[in-house]
Structure formats: structure tokens, C-alpha cells
Symmetry: C2
Subunit: 610 residues, 2 copies
Amino acid sequence: MRPTFPPTKFQSFNEISDPDLIKPRVKKLRSLMKDNKLDAWLAPHSDVHRSESLPKNQRRLAHITGFTGSAGSAIIETNNAALFVDGRYTMQAPLQTDTNIFDVLETPNEKPGTWAKNNLATKARLKTRIGFDPWLHTIAEIRTFNLQLENHGVLVATENLIEKIWDDRPPPPFKNIELLDIERAGIAAEDKILAIQNQLEDKNAKALVLNMPESICWLLNIRGRDVPNTPVVLAFAIVHRTKKPELFVDLKKINPEQNQLLSATVTLRKVEEFSATLKQLAKDKARIWVDPTTCPDAIFKLLSEKGGSVFEAPDPVMVAKAIKNPTEVAGMKQAHLLDGIAMANFLHWFDQNAPSGKLSEIEIASQLENFRASEPSLVDISFDTISGSGPNGAIVHYRVNEQSNRMLNSGELMLVDSGGQYLSGTTDITRTLFTGSASARQKQHFTLVLKGMIAISTLNFPKGTTGSQIDIMARHALWQKGLNYNHGTGHGVGAFLSVHETPAGIAPRYNVPLKAGMIISNEPGYYLEGAYGIRIENLVHVINSAQYEGFLAFETLTLAPIDTSLLDLGLLTSKEINWLNKYHSLVREKISPHLEHDQKSWLHRATTAI
Amino acid sequence: MRPTFPPTKFQSFNEISDPDLIKPRVKKLRSLMKDNKLDAWLAPHSDVHRSESLPKNQRRLAHITGFTGSAGSAIIETNNAALFVDGRYTMQAPLQTDTNIFDVLETPNEKPGTWAKNNLATKARLKTRIGFDPWLHTIAEIRTFNLQLENHGVLVATENLIEKIWDDRPPPPFKNIELLDIERAGIAAEDKILAIQNQLEDKNAKALVLNMPESICWLLNIRGRDVPNTPVVLAFAIVHRTKKPELFVDLKKINPEQNQLLSATVTLRKVEEFSATLKQLAKDKARIWVDPTTCPDAIFKLLSEKGGSVFEAPDPVMVAKAIKNPTEVAGMKQAHLLDGIAMANFLHWFDQNAPSGKLSEIEIASQLENFRASEPSLVDISFDTISGSGPNGAIVHYRVNEQSNRMLNSGELMLVDSGGQYLSGTTDITRTLFTGSASARQKQHFTLVLKGMIAISTLNFPKGTTGSQIDIMARHALWQKGLNYNHGTGHGVGAFLSVHETPAGIAPRYNVPLKAGMIISNEPGYYLEGAYGIRIENLVHVINSAQYEGFLAFETLTLAPIDTSLLDLGLLTSKEINWLNKYHSLVREKISPHLEHDQKSWLHRATTAI
């Protein structure tokens, strides 16, 4: 029986794709490649703004391959073609694409540049021409590709060939922008700009070029609704050392009143003027700051080909944005209160309905979205919900669709990772749900994961400590039983911005010191292939230690009960039990006043001290 | 009363230096600088082989500044001069040098290149000439210096000016070499060489140039007695991809029988032929492998100026050497048995004599050396003993001399960090000793340090884990009380080689995965300035976990009791107490059969279960 589920506004579970459309499109592309004397064409899943969720008009990879996943790339050669996807999409991709045309290959074992090298090796070295759109690849990506290619071909930047064969291409997103006043932003745009201009002075750079909407929106205290999940306006900006920043944007998204307010801080420019401005900027050997990990290769070329010297360093706005100001922290706390209310209502609903055995992964995700959406200040969900029952929970980035949708049986664990974009802030929470009677093994694994989560929550650490250093604290209890999980422990989270933010986080790759004001996730897990996945995630806020001079600690922002029926109490120390009881008591105190009678009673039970 | 102490063979506690000698020497040097049109001269504490303990003829920094510490550098400018030392030498250096000539500056806050930039800034940029001996600085050091200099001068490689003014310069060390047979080395030199040649093949390099005696001695299964503390022969080597390696060495150190045996594996060459051979090697654009962190700038210049392409990567011999083979592990265990016997006799002597209040730091270090030296296979100590009573223990790398020597009072902690070079292997151990009645604070700090040491000792970790990841486990107990220590948790240790070895270790800078066979130290500490220092150090051996597939663990090699009278038992978990009791029971079982009656009784008491 195909399950039914309530309608949802922000996510769909039906990824429509017709493999039969692929063959004629690839044929057209190959014909265009021939016209352009190209032996291959690169098709990444990306836009010029590195959007995590692509607007419809930017889904070029889906257009040419049929594959609709959230990451991947393709190389179309004259005779061969390969679609590169990571482990979470190795099932989905072959169903969506035409496998007579595309070999589906799994990254990171298969590397696009290496594949190109091997498949193009028949032709003379350096004579093979690989076409690409330089706006869709970062400087760093092009360097990596070239390293992998080892001179078995040259990359040739051209106009985008897929756009030329895309007849029914949707229009770009068009939504009005939103201005944040000082009560919401905490710091005036003028002051943020001045701090960046001081850094330009320090580095002897004339200007900073920004293509990441998160950076631009944070710097200028604006937001937008152009893309799913992240409340940004798509735009470029140039921050000049000695004059007002220029914002390049579709000016029709700005009403006259906004235009007047914004113009006090920035010079508004049409987006069409961006390239010409870059060329002009780079004259006279000017030194221009870009972040090579996010800046498109096209910008690098425009700057350097006109004699500018490109200064490569991490985007200073990203670095500043990672440290939330007190107003942003207060907003994030308000968002977590609203999210906690939605979670309590959802978890109560789950406990009422799960024993029936009639809930599906989609119904669970849909109900959760609707509990969130009952809050008027919810603008969007912060990412598509991961809703994995039983063995699907063991697929770390599982995304349910109508084909994979599974009913939750008694005795099965259910992993739900979700979040909301409220006007006040962004949330991201994972809870592992359960119905029935848990096995000793399920309890052991759940408790070991919780021990890791508590170890981070209760950690004191000296200033200067990086996220890479503390990652092991979340793994130690698992490691001592020979277990581990194959993902980072935490990522940075924006304040009413992207739910995944650099440069702060908890994993070996995060090498910047943690600082008071940063907000990151704390989400250890354990995945037993073919059986279940467990993850417990709270967001935490880095604070100065109240006890110890020179030390930092974490304040937990997320407010939702953790299922105590899944605990093996014998594995917990008294300190860990104390932490859990104090946490549950805080959840009850904060959330309880906002619940109806039944939900309130449920929350009291769910947060009873153990 | 000046204390007396027994004579020692391997270390002296009297660093003689006459500041009055410095003025005429610097005058001579400045005159030579003028002849060479140099505005400054760089004088590092180093030799071409990066020896940790310099032979007497290599102590150029001591000759020109009077400073005899184990690390530092000087810049002598026409009018100014600076002596750069780290925190442990800021007291000693001003007493040894002429402070009218040298400003003593503390690294790493003061950077030589930055000082040069600021002090040479009066002259026109790029016209200031800074002379240096390119054999005494690594490729990486010269790059760092140039970065700091920011073009306020140019480095000019010349012959060594200090050697030219050094009238009574001692001769180079001269000791016969020692060949290790397969029973001691475990792997034949031929096989080690073949493995390196395979890597040369992989990297498409023609040859590998080695200047580190540890690498050369390990690769060729030879040892020597040229320098204090590390049993190596000073030499260079070139490992060729397609022919026998060349060893450049003072051939008089090799007797005819050794010459014949060695010649089966290597081509023996006079050390004077090294430079000419490098030039020859680099012809025809050959690609030559060097490690920029250890290779002298002079070698880089000889290779690259003649058209060779320098391939920079970590020394592959260092990497191979870090993983001890079963024979080496067995040797290290034997060395730790011998060292454990010496330590038991020493600790017994300490317990008998410390209550008198008449022991000095030097007497304690001397007695320990003599207990070690009673073992005939002891070749040397592995480094000068750190023997710090009370507040001197808080100086992390404290080195006692006759001026600083202090009597140990009742109630004071005593930090003793020492080690031996036995024919079978190398040891490094720290114990914190005590006499009298310990305060609650002393016990708390000692116990927190021990908790960190046990956390490393008992850790399971998946293959692929780096030393940087696990460092925090040794700090966690201290961090939770707002305490920390300002050094790494562990370093690699050679097998009858250097006591400090890269690339394995436990600290944020160690980014290579730990592998079965590596031997590293485990030495957390805590230092209360002006009061005491605590450190507890065992060596540990990385082994495959007996319990968990894909996991690694540590086996402890060091065999010496830890003072249980310093424990606050309330701070230890039952697992930690179990570990300590099992460890002490192992120490008793292994060491007890080798002790006299009184010492045996003492060891039984010292290792009684708590």
C-alpha cells in the first residue's frame, strides 16, 4: 500500500526525471562541442554563487544527465561520458540518467580529472580541448582538476554550452530583498564594512571581490528569498578600501524605499556591469583580494588578465560572520525556542502515532515540516529533512523520495535530521526516534553516541583550541568499543543564513581556533549498515568559561528531549546523567509554557530525571 | 654550603663562558664582514647535519656570543647585534654573553628576520647584504627568514666567517663506526635501500640526498659515536634509483673489515667529494629528492643552479624508520628492561636519601647517570637530564648547572626527565619524585596529569588517526579544571638513534597517521610557575588492537613505578586504578628479579596495588 502524507510547502519527495530525454540533449551538446572544437565538456552541479540548493535555472547537471541530487558533476566526451556522484547517490543516479550514455562513478575514489586523463589519453597530449564554464568552477577546483589531468589535455573556458541547448530554461529566481535593521543585525553595515576595509589596508589590497551571497548579505545586513533553504539574495559585491562597496544585483528586487536606505551604505549597480567593473578594477597592477576556495575561475581570469595581482586568502567576511554578535545570539536563541516548540509537538505526535506501525519516512518528514510551519516567522526549512527508518538511517545523508520511502516498524530506530529558517535565526537538530522495545545493542550504541555528544557539551578548552583538536572527544566512547563514524562532528551554522558555514566546526579539517560567539553543531553518530543509524545533534554556542580564566566552553542552544528509553544507564557516569537531567529540566522550563495540555504532559514525562 | 656530587661521564654541569672574550671576537667578525661588503652576519646554533647536540667544533654561536644553550641564533650587524633564545635561556644567555654588544631577545615573539628587517631598514631596500653560511640553514629556514625580511635586504651565501676568526677551533669528532648485523637491525640494508629506490621510481626522481645522520645510519645499518647523546656517524649520502647508494664520510672512521662489508651495499666516498658529486648529479635536468625541512640551502643551490629540478617532500627514510621492525621493538623492550632496573635502583636510593634534605639537583642527576652507567651496554645518556626541584621543575626544559643548582627540601616536588642509549635501544622517562607530605593541591595536579597519561595509554583508535587528533585526550582532565600544559604530549623516539624523531608524535603539529610499530613518548605535565613542575612520561609502542578489527592501541614500554603517595584517589575512576595496578604489577614482575634484596623490597612496596 502506498502511504499517504500531508502536503508540504518547502520540500518535495518526488524527484521527477525522465532518462529518455537525456539522449537527444547529449546529442545536441556533442554537436555544439564539435562546433567549438571541444573534445569534452565539464558539467558541475553548481552556480556562480556556490549555492547549496540550486535555483531551478541553475540545474544544468540535471538537465544534461537527469540526475537531481545535491552534489555531483559530469564530463561529456565525444564518445564517452561519466557522471560522478558520492556514496549517497549511487542508487539514485543510475535510475535518473541514461546509463547507456553515462557511466555512474563514485567519488572520491573516482576523480573527474583522473578520469579525463585516462579517457582522453588516446589523443596527443595538450591537444585535447576540454571546455568549461569558468563561472561555475572555483579557482581551487580548476587547479585540482589540472593536477589530476597531468597535462593530458587543456581546459578551454567558453560560454556555457548546456544553456545554449536548454530550450525551456526557467527564469532566474526573482524575489524582493529584505533589509535587516540594527535590532535584528546587531552591528551596522557601515561598521562591518569599515572592519573589512581595515583588513584591506593591512593586506595592502585595493578591494575584495565577493560572490558568496552569505558573505554579501551578512556584510550589508540584507537577506533575500532567491534560493531554497538559505534566505539570501543572489548578488556580487566589491568592497573597496577607500570608497563605498558596490553591490551588483537585479535592481528590480529592491523597492524605492530600500534603494534609498541601502544607497547610504553601498553603490547599487546592475549585475550586468560586474565583469566590466572587475576589468577596470584590476588596472594599474592593483592587488585584489579573493578567496580561491569560493571565487569562480572567471573572476580570477578577469582580474589577472588585465594586469591585476590577485591576493588569495580566506574570505574575511566569512571569518567575521562566524563570530555571532549578541543580537545574533539572542535571535538564534529565539529561533531555538520556536524550533523546540515544534519539535516537542512533533515528538509527541510521533509517540502517539508510531506504535500503529503506519508511519512512513515521508509522513514523518512532512508532519515535522508542518509543525514548524505553524510558526508564522518560519521562512523556510534550513535543508531537506533526512528521515531514515531502520536501515535507511545508516545512509548518512539519506534523502527520502517516493521510491525509497519506507514504513517504520516497531523496534526500529528512526533518524530525523532537520532544521528551520526563522526570521530570528537558523536551526539544525537531529534526534533518533524509536517505537517498541529497544535491544541491548541499540541501547549500547545510542548511549555511546550520547556520551560523545555530552563530552563536547561539557568540555572546557583553552583559548586557541581548534575544532580539529576537540573532535576526538565526541568519538572516544565509541572508539573504546572499536566503533566510529565516518563524518565530522560539527559544522558552523549561520544566523538566519546558511545552515552550513565555514570556517568554524569540529572535525580534523577545521584548523581555526574556536572563539566566543561561534555557533556550531555537535552531532556524533553511529551507523550499522543494513540495520540503523543513530545521530544526536544539538547546536552549541562558544562562550567564555564562567569558571576558568582563559578558557572557553559551550552553551547548548537546541531545546528538545533526548529519548531516555534508549539509554543503557550502566554506561553513563554520574556526571553524564547530571548533564542530561539538567538539560531536560532546561528544555521543560523553556518549552513547556508554550504547549497545549497533552503535549505538556508528554514533555514532562519525556524530560523526567533519570 | 656548596653541595658535592659524584663525577659523571656523560654530562657536565659547568657551562664555562667568559663574556670578556666576546668583544674582540665580534670586532674581528665585523672587520671580516666589511672585507666581504656585508652589512650583517647570521650565526645559528646548528651544523650541516642538524645535530641535536653539537660537536665542539660546530659551536659557532657559542664562540661568537658566549651563549652555550642548546638552541638559538644571532645576527651581528655593523652596529647592532641580537642574540635570539627561547624562554628556557632568557636567564642564562645574558650571563654568558656581553650584553653591551648583544641584545638578548626571546623567541618566538622576536623573529630574527623581522629584527633584521627593522634594524636594517635605514639602508636602501635590497641593497643591504646579509651574509650567511648556506650549509647551516635549511631550505625552509631561509624561506621563512626571507618572508620575515620582506625585501629589506638580500641574503648573501659566503664561506663561514666565524670559522675564519676561530683560532683555537677544536678538530671534528673522530670515532670509529659500528656496523649493525641483521640480528640487531632486523632488516638488511639492501632491503631498506630497495624500498627507497621503489619510492624514487614512483616519484620519478633520480636520487635522494640525505644529510641527516639518523636517516643514513638507519638506512645502512651503521652507527657511530661522533656526537653526544645520539649514536651516529656524521656523514652524507645519496641514494640513487638505479645504482648503489654513495656514503660520504671520513673514511678513516671505517676499518678495513668494515670497509669490505659496507662496500657490498654502498659506494664509500670521501666527504670532500660530496659537493662535486651533487653538481654532477644535477646535470641533464635530473629530478632530485630532498626534504626542505632538513636539507641545507647549500645543497638546494648546488642542485638547482646546475639545472637539476629539486623535488621537495618529507625524507622517506625518516618515514620508514619511524615504524620499528620486530627486531627493533624487541631491542627497545630490552633497553627498557635495563633502564627500568636503573630507575628502580635510583628511585630506591632517592627514597633513602631525600628525607635528609641534603640532595641537590646535580647530585640527583649524577646518581641517576651512574645507576644507568653500571649497565655495561650503556653507550651514552640520550639527552642531558632535566633535574628540577621545586620551582625549577616549572621551567619546562630546565637544565641544571652549578649556578642554578638547588637543594631539594621536604614537601617539594622534583621533576626528573632522563634517558639512556643502550646498545639495544633508546629510552626516555620522566618521573615526578617527592619527599615529605604532599599538599592537597600537589596531589590534585599530579593525579590530573596521571589521568591524561592513562587516557593515552588505554586509548583505542581507528587506523588513520593522527597524533594531532589524540593529543587532547592527555589534556582533558586538566582542561576540565581550567589547567593545561604548554608543550606537546609526545614525540617519536629512535631505536638506538635520536631520542627525538619525526614524523610521528602526539601534538597538533603531527599530521601523519599513527601506525603499528611506531614508538612515541606519552608525557603530559603541569607546571605551576614559582612552585613546581609535574610530568609523567612513558614510551608507548603502537600495536594493532587485539580486540577490535581496524583499530590500534598502545603498549607501554617504560617500566618504572609511579609515586602512589602523590595520588588523590578520589579523582581516579576504577578503570584508571585498574590500569595503574596492572602497570605496577608488570613493573614488579619484570624488574624485581634483577634487584638486590633492599631494592626488591622497596619495589614491592612501591608497586603495591592501591
